[in-house]
Symmetry: D2
Subunit: 472 residues, 4 copies
């Protein structure tokens, strides 16, 4: 009884629904149904789209010029109020569209109602959401580019700084610090491309689909699309109001970008650990401790790493939401925006932190040099030298190298600390020239194949990448 | 350049970090790092745990009685301020713990610092979070129980209302409306049990683990655990600060519950569609349209269905966050709370909506009856009758039934509208008695096996379930 | 003890690892480590890439012409054996690359070893995998196109068949069957575009990156890329062996396509339910029951709907795998292929089933017509008519329509069964002309706005879509 | 055309469906529909359940004693054939149940058909699947226990071996190697408990629910449940055939366990990296390289870490599959088994690898000792000493410690290498006694609070954990 009362109608009916909907939604319904806290971020795009719609209706003779002017003036005033912080959003009016419409009615009277001619909330919200996401994608493009710029500057500066390259987190071959950073320039370069491809599919206009079936009013969708910067009106009205693959595609691209950032972040955390000590982080992106003032906890890197989780979470969430939904509009779709907004915010912040960390990180030459002394890191170079210079068959060269490494291990020295005699005791054809290749710096310089780690390659790659990624 | 400036130190250092941390975190760092907007919901649990900790330190002689009193009084005052809405949370103080600690220092001076003896933020936050989740689980237990109560009342009322039971959304056998609802009582009953099992693992106390290794102060963890209602102190200090499986377990249980609610919601949506018309929903949980006032869009059901997405999203997010994290504390863990808070809020709301919808839904006898006339729904009963009463071998009974169904289909009538002769033209052993079983109501009544759909079973099941689920 | 023995070295060492690796991997290790059961599907691409690599080494003077010939001949023989089913894959040789290499050594001796000059398993597997996926994408493009072809034929055939359009699974406005199907042509058309965009990023060549750092051998990557049909060699050697975003992108695109197929499948399940009865499915894609022979369970549709799950599962899995992996190669990457293979197989099958179901489904005119009589489905058309023809303000038109609908509801008739007088009792300005718009067929025909549901639009859209999607 | 033919009926109809289902499923349908390759793993459980069902039907007088004997004998023979490898599974017979039933019919004739009395494939498959999972859970319990045993032995052996404890992968406080391992004993101990809780919910019997509604045959479900070791028959027949939350719960528990294993694996990878060098791995769980024979790539650890991905993948997949499914049985449910089988296999292998790696790993004292000299790791101990022994207020103690650390950093020495005078220059109250606490070994020994890292605690914890976890 009491329980029932608590969930029953409470009179805060949405007055926009008109007179026939007697009982108001209950408190629970109001809470579960209202999206205004989330979708008010669409206000500017809603107003922009409404103005374009009204103007088109004017051009087509559906609205009078006077109405169009009133609508435009009213919407401009509302936008100003919102941006001034004087607009009061009402939860009873559910969403941003109803809030703006109600305010418009207060301001200009009946003409406000006519704005809704030949459209519905279904095509309206899809349009607003696409406009918002298009702007977000443009912002993110800049943010990714900024990370690339930071990586490029750092790679350029340290194009010839030698460090161990790892496989399985075991030292494998010497590479340069610049070459390592350039890998990320490529990775997030593809992320930018994915976002750009996504933008093209976001940039099609649902408006004019009305509730689901189009309209019998003589509207001109092409002109509205042009006005709003859309590539074109969508071809099918049911598709226009029912589909959210543009949002899923964005969340997927965001997740993949998040994975890349998590890999960079993980490397920063590992490199900043004293046992590695490969880089020093700035105070700006670390936290300290009053009792261990030397400690720089890589908090920002850890947070960037973690935030990959919420990106996959958002994609998974929207996939579950969309799975098995019949056409056309269903209220389930209302859950789309929060995921997309959160992913965009998360990326904006993660990218800014990544750019900052990269700019501030200082590679530590001594630690890198010391690490190069571990793990017989030029063993592959020795094997290749045997093949290339001493004509030893490939698999034999591997066996011989293995025995020389074993010898150095037994003696507790680096490969380049073995004497020529010691090496020749394993393989006769080895000559003095081998020492050239046993030094990590020289070994690195020798890997000049396209895409290889040689400093000259890195310098060239930086220059090329600046052109490919930054000049646009 | 300008860009670099924008991300560099800005002086808004957290004053709690002490004097040695010269440059403040940048604006980006402040934004990515601060958790206060999320974790301020922990305030009451933080204060409760701090008071228990202080009192124990007093009992153990680590703090003076005067300090303990000052701390307690100060914390109580802070709690009051927060609940009165007069407390100002500062983003520069990062999180709820630092905000409360800073305020305490203002109020009581140096004693505030001593509260932090023998603990760290690492065990503190894990403790607060578990206390919060324990309360949330208790609340959710009530919410699930309320849905069960609603289902039980409705099932009781309609224990013998016959409707088609579906497989593959095709009519298969007649069941009762009450029996159908009772399936959900069982399903979410297991969800309650999962939540209860989860609660037992949540209810272990990290406090006293300090940063990660325990402490050399002579603390008494058992007494604090008792005071805070924890089952016991956790056995290993690293585990205590590093583990979040209690949160993952909650999110998993929440997802499974969400799946069950989505199935109920889907059935509500389908049943409320005019082509089915099995139920009528109340205005309270539907939305209308001024132009189609008769329309009741099942918005609440659709939202409940959709919200399963954010539950899986939360579990996926935290799984990604936790994957591959070395012990002990890492900043990645800060991302745990937002997921858990959101899942708890989502469930609270979804359960309330589900309970309300179930209470308000009105099964439509006419539509159910009409649907029973479709699909030869008692065909299985006929086959079973042939086996049971006419001694026909099982697979033969199936073939015979198939031929009789085909006959009815050809004639465009229901099975019980065939004449005895018509049936006997297919199978001689059929007698007048068969008509008993061809009527859906009687067929339903005959399924008296344990757990079967007979109305008498449903009545019994309701009684038993009230005892199992509601009396506790 | 016994337990320990069970997991210790067992002598089945991979003989390709050479002499220094004394103890073999244990049984457990062999089981967890071997990927041959999965990656043998790469055999043809592995052989193709090896041949191109060998020929380039020949051109560059690294291998002798004799060696190149022997290698080519040997690889061709191996491919024939595999395709004839006479090749015996050995689990002790771990993966497809080692199996082929070992067989090659048996066939041609030492030259086999030299094939591995200037490459490593790291760039080799990434190359093979991309070649495989490129082929799979080409196959999937055909499969999606075939679904589009099926939809287009069906849409063309039923371009003017009127049916209810739904929002919230409630009848909302009349549409045509063809228009509904065309929504899916658009949806999966974007999926094709996503796959195409993905293909472009797949189609870059890792080969030549060697283990991670490039090589000092004078290789010519551009010519190998050309030979293998790659757009270009990848720019950075670490990126080439470490990145799997091409696989993630494919799995994401697969998931989104899966979501679209699940929506189509859900509609098929609902439409085929007797309560709707909108379509009749063929026996080919349904299952029956011997006792209810008329029953056609939409098994294929249900399986297509369910398989969305494994697509999201695959994307989630690989996201977790890649999260936080330091560069360059790590064994974690071995888990990539099973997910991608399964997703490609799943899509191939789901698309084939979808195409078949669409081709075979028969819309049921009677049921569609009957459903159009429910829910006052032309109410929006009435409101629009009032605005457009009777100059009634927009919101007033809605209120008036609501009252007329209420009137029809009270009388238990359709809107077009009200008399003109009855309608005029609500709104004076209504004239005889209104009846034109109250009939669903005419209402549908009136929605001629671009992308709207009018049959003439659908015919035009089909023609245009054939050009856009099928002629390529 | 040709395309259409390829998907049309092909005559390979499942002969078990009886005569009325004219056209066979097409090739596509056969491929998408058949589950035999996956579900044949259920054969033993299917036979066991069938025997129990037949015997009960005999006891209840539904089947004759002769039939029951024939069925039992026939099923036993089939089981022997399957286990001998002589049984030929047919894909045309779709699933394991039909394969066994068809074979039984060949062996014993008509009685085979009567076995299906009072059950359906719906309750049969749910029963088999639960029996299988129950066995798998029992096996996994042993596997987890074995990892605990390995951890406990290693922890016992190294209960007092001091190493750095990390937060943020930065050295924070000294701990013992044994204490660190004991954290995992606790973590996976909770995983065992979750699996046990899951087992209780798995262990309820669907059999007797028949297709969805129960049956009119006088069955005795309780006795079958007892015979099969089930806790009880499920209470509601629709729930019994429709629910898969037991599978979801297992997959969730598997994912959380996978997360724990991934954390252990990540630590193994990091510790085995030469820059850390904390442990040496055995050859058994690593891979080598012929050219770098000293290299031990932690392949098994990386694979264990990666496999977390497929566990989350499986949970996500089944969540998507189950989301929004109406009751009762739908073909979507067929997709449940592959996920569960794969997760169980994955865990079995990952746990075996984890146990083996833990048993074989050798902590490297020198490296651990060296690492303890970095990062002023006893700074917290100094601060605590100041509070505890020198009565310095808490926050002051932190500031003082910070200044002493800064001093040591400037001098490039460890804290215990500062002279008393140097320390007293910062804080007068420091005495000779402070040196006791500055040594990591002594510092570790002092952390005797419950759950703390002191070696005596670890020894005690090992003993207690052996009792809690291994004696059962």
């Amino acid at each position: 009884m009491a329980k029932k009362d608590a969930t029953s109608g409470s009179g805060n009916a949405n007055p926009m629904w008109g007179g026939h909907y007697a009982a108001g939604p209950s408190v629970i319904m109001a809470e579960i149904n209202a999206s205004i806290d989330v979708d008010k971020r669409l206000y500017a795009h809603d107003i922009r789209a409404s103005k374009a719609h009204a103007e088109m209706l004017g051009r087509q003779g559906v609205l009078s010029g006077k109405d169009v002017k009133a609508i435009t003036r009213g919407l401009d005033a509302i936008q100003k109020e919102i941006e001034d912080g004087t607009f009061v959003f009402s939860s009873a009016l559910e969403d941003v569209h109803m809030n703006i419409e109600a305010s418009l009615k207060e301001k200009i009277g009946d003409a406000a109602g006519r704005l809704h001619t030949a459209r519905s909330r279904n095509d309206q919200v899809a349009t607003d959401f696409r406009l918002w996401l298009r702007d977000a994608l443009d912002g993110l493009d800049e943010s990714i580019k900024d990370v690339q710029a930071a990586l490029l500057d750092k790679a350029d500066e340290h194009a010839s700084l030698t460090m161990p390259g790892f496989t399985h987190l075991q030292p494998a071959q010497p590479i340069t610090f610049g070459h390592h950073l350039m890998a990320y320039v490529e990775m997030i370069g593809r992320d930018r491309a994915r976002m750009r491809d996504c933008r093209a599919r976001v940039n099609e206009m649902p408006l004019g689909a009305a509730a689901l079936a189009g309209t019998s009013f003589p509207i001109d969708r092409a002109s509205v699309a042009k006005e709003l910067g859309f590539e074109k009106p969508m071809e099918n009205s049911l598709d226009a109001v029912s589909s959210r693959d543009f949002a899923l595609e964005f969340l997927a691209a965001a997740t993949v970008l998040g994975v890349h950032l998590s890999r960079l972040a993980e490397e920063i955390v590992i490199w900043a650990s004293p046992s590695f000590g490969f880089i020093k982080l700035s105070e700006a992106f670390t936290s300290g401790s009053s009792i261990m003032p030397q400690k720089r906890n890589p908090d920002a890197a850890e947070l960037v790493r973690a935030k990959t989780g919420r990106l996959l979470g958002a994609f998974s969430a929207l996939t579950v939401i969309m799975k098995g939904l019949p056409l056309a509009y269903a209220k389930d779709l209302q859950e789309d925006k929060e995921q997309v907004f959160d992913a965009a915010d998360t990326l904006r912040l993660s990218l800014a932190a990544a750019a900052g960390m990269v700019r501030d990180m200082q590679p530590q030459e001594d630690a890198l040099k010391k690490a190069l002394g571990v793990g017989f890191i030029t063993a592959t170079d020795l094997a290749d030298w045997l093949v290339r210079e001493a004509n030893v068959p490939f698999r034999d060269a591997h066996r011989i190298t293995g025995r020389i490494v074993r010898l150095a291990e037994t003696k507790g020295c680096r490969l380049d600390q073995l004497s020529l005699e010691e090496m020749r005791s394993v393989e006769k054809s080895i000559t003095e020239a081998v020492f050239g290749i046993l030094d990590p710096v020289q070994a690195t310089a020798s890997r000049k194949s396209a895409g290889g780690t040689a400093p000259s390659n890195v310098k060239h790659a930086v220059k090329k990448a600046r052109k490919r990624f930054l000049s646009a």
